[in-house]
C-alpha cells in the first residue's frame, strides 16, 4: 500500500489549525509560544510532503524546511526573552493580566 500526499497535507493542516487556535485563544503566554511551535512544525511537514509528492525531482521544499527551523528557533528565542522580561516586572505570564494598554 502506498500513501499519497493527502494524509500528510491533512495532518499538517490539522496541526496548523490547532496551533492557530491555541495562539489566538490560550491565556498563558508560554502556551501561546508552544502553539506557535506547533504551527512551525505544520509548516515544515507541509513543505516536505508537498515537495516530496508534487515535485520530487527538486529538493526545494526539504532545504527550505531547514531555513524555516532556523528562523522559527530565533523568533521563539526572542519571544521567550520578551515573556521573561515581562514576568520579572509583573510576576505573571497570563495574557489576561497583562492589559496596561487599552483602546
Amino acid at each position: 500500500m502506498t500513501v499519497g500526499p493527502v494524509p500528510f497535507m491533512a495532518l499538517a493542516a490539522i496541526l496548523f489549525a490547532i496551533g492557530l487556535f491555541g495562539a489566538l485563544s490560550k491565556k498563558s503566554a508560554v502556551m501561546v509560544l508552544m502553539s506557535l511551535e506547533l504551527m512551525t512544525n505544520a509548516v515544515n511537514l507541509n513543505l516536505v510532503a508537498v515537495s516530496r509528492f508534487v515535485t520530487p525531482e527538486s529538493m526545494a521544499g526539504q532545504f527550505t524546511a531547514a531555513f524555516v527551523m532556523v528562523v522559527a528557533a530565533a523568533e521563539i528565542g526572542l519571544g521567550l526573552a520578551l515573556v521573561l522580561a515581562l514576568y520579572r516586572k509583573r510576576r505573571t505570564v497570563e495574557l489576561d493580566h497583562i492589559d496596561e494598554l487599552k483602546g
Binding site: 508537498v50 526545494a60 516586572k89 492589559d99 494598554l101
Partner: protein, 459 residues
Amino acid sequence: MSDLVLIVPEAFLLLGALVALFADVLARGHARAGAWIGAVAAILATAAALWAGQGAPALFVGQFAVDGAAQVARVATGLLTAAFLVWLAVVGLQRGSVRDFTALVLFSALGAMLMAAARDWVVMMLALEVATMPAYVLMGFDRSDVRGLEGALKYFLLSMVASLLFLYGLSFVIGMSGATAMGATKLQPGLVGALAAAFLTAGMLAKLSAAPFQWWAPDAYAGAPAASVAFVSAVPKVAGVVAFARVVLVLAPQAPSLPLLLIGAAVLSMIIGNLAAYPQTDVRRLMAYSGVAHAGYLLVGLAAGGEAGARAALFYGIAYAVPSLGVMLVAATVGNTLGEFRGLAARRPFLAWATVLMLISLIGIPPLAGFTGKLFLFTAAMGGGLVPLSVFAVVMSAVSAGFYFRIVRAMFFDSAAQDLQAPRVPAGAAAVVALCCAAVIGIGVAAGPLLSAISFTAK
C-alpha cells in the same frame, strides 16, 4: 565580479552595525558616538546604492537583483535611516544604550534593503525576518517599562503568527513550483493554489499592519519608547511595500481571487484606520491608526494590479514614510498626548508649522508628496477598473482630515496648561525635521522623475 558592488550598501550597514556596537570602546566618554557611526554608515550605504546602479550579480544566481523599484526603495531606506540616526545622535535615549539601539536599527535597515532586492522566496522570507526581528527588540527596548514590554509582546505574537501564515502559504508554493525562485512560481489552479496565495497575502498584510491584523499597532506604538516607534512605524515599511508588490505581481496572474482579497483588506483598513483614529488622545496611537488607513490606500494600488499599481504603491510608501517619521520625531520631542501638543505654536513655532506641513501631506493636499502619491494610486486603480474603490478612498482621505486637524487645533488654538514647558529642541533635531519637510515638498514637486525611476522587472 564587478557586479558585486550591488551588495556594497548592505555591507556598509552590516559593518556600521558591528562597529557601532563597540562605539564605547572606540570613543570613550561619548555616549552617543554609536549613533553618529551608524548615521555615517547609512549615508555611505545610500551613496553606494545610488552609485552601484541596477543589475543582478551573477554570483547570486537570480536570488538577488536590483531593479528601479529596489534601487529607489534602498536609497529611501538608507536616507530615512540616516536621518533617524542623526536625530538619535543629537537627542539621545531616555533609557538604554545608544550603541545597541543603533546596531538594531542598522540590522533592521539591512534586512529592509535585502528585502527590496530579493527575487527568491527563501531570501525574501529571511530578509523579512532580519528586518522585523530587531523591531521587536526596539519596541521593548526599555526593559523597566511594563507598557513597552506589553506592546512589544503583542507586536511579537502577531508578527510571528503573520510569519507562520506566510510560511504555510510558502510551503505550498515552493512544493508546487519545485524551485524557490519567485520567477519560477507555479501555482496549481484550484482551491489549494488559491489558499496558498491567501496565506501569503495574509502574512504580508499583517507585516504592513493592515486590517484585519491592525490591532497590535496602536498598543505597541503607545507603549514603546518614542524613538523606536518613529523608526519601526516608517522606515522598514518602504521595502515591505516593494516585497508585497513583488508577491502580488507574481501571484495575481495565477490566483484570480487575490485582487478581491486585497480590495477587502483595503476597504477594511481605510474604515478602521480613519474612524478609530478620531477618539484617540494619544498622538502615537492616533498615528498608528492613521498608519493602518495609509496601508489601506497602498492596497488600493496593489489591488489595481499590474506594474502601474505596484509603482504607485511604492511611491506612496515613500510619500507616507517621510512625513510619518517627521511627525513621530516631533511627538518624541514634544510628548505623547494631545494635551502636550497644546499651544505648541506659541512655544515652538517651527515644530508646530513643520507638523502642519507633514499632516497636510498625509491628508493629501497639493502640491505635497501625499497628494501626488494618492493621485498616482487612484489613477492606477481607475486604470485597473476599480472606480468605486477609488471614489471610496478619496472620500476616506477627506474623512481623515478631521482627526489630523485635531492635532493642528491643539497646537494653534488651545492654550497650553500653565506648567507646560517649551520642549528642548537641539539644532540637529530641528534640522532633521526640516529635512523631512523639505523631502515632503521635494517629492511632491519632483514626483515625475521619481515615479519614472521606479520600475519592476520580472528577472
